[in-house]
Symmetry: C2
Subunit: 79 residues, 2 copies
């Protein structure tokens, strides 16, 4: 069973990496880009076969390791 976790910075948290991408896009002529935010995508292969159990387990992984819940939001999707 596969799970996909997306981790994004919370609104209001500065994102210098996104800002650097926006600047680089502007330098390449893409000046219609008003804002860029960069997040992480983590794909997990799990031994679990029960989707509900897998989702609970991955949420626990997010809370403990994958996301910094002070500044980041995460979402879990079991595929």
């Amino acid at each position: 069973m596969k799970a996909r976790v997306t981790v994004t910075l919370k609104t209001g948290v500065l994102d210098p990496q996104g800002e650097a991408i926006r600047h680089a896009l502007g330098a390449l002529g893409f000046d219609d880009v008003e804002g860029v935010r960069q997040g992480k995508l983590i794909e997990l292969d799990l031994a679990d076969t029960d989707p509900a159990a897998a989702e609970a387990r991955v949420t626990e992984m997010c809370e403990k390791l994958l996301a910094n819940t002070v500044i980041e939001n995460y979402s879990v999707e079991v595929i």
Copy 2:
């Protein structure tokens, strides 16, 4: 208009960052995780209002800057 780009490593390309996450999860007791791959998620705010034009423009950004097409796949989703 917003666009979401996901950039993932192609199959067969080594992912040391994903491997490090898998190892850390194992150390935390999540030993049922068989594999981890880490990718990037880039959210763009665009001035474009036409979805088709926005998608074409973001695809061009991916080819030129956002993804390294030798080792990475990307997908574009206009929201």
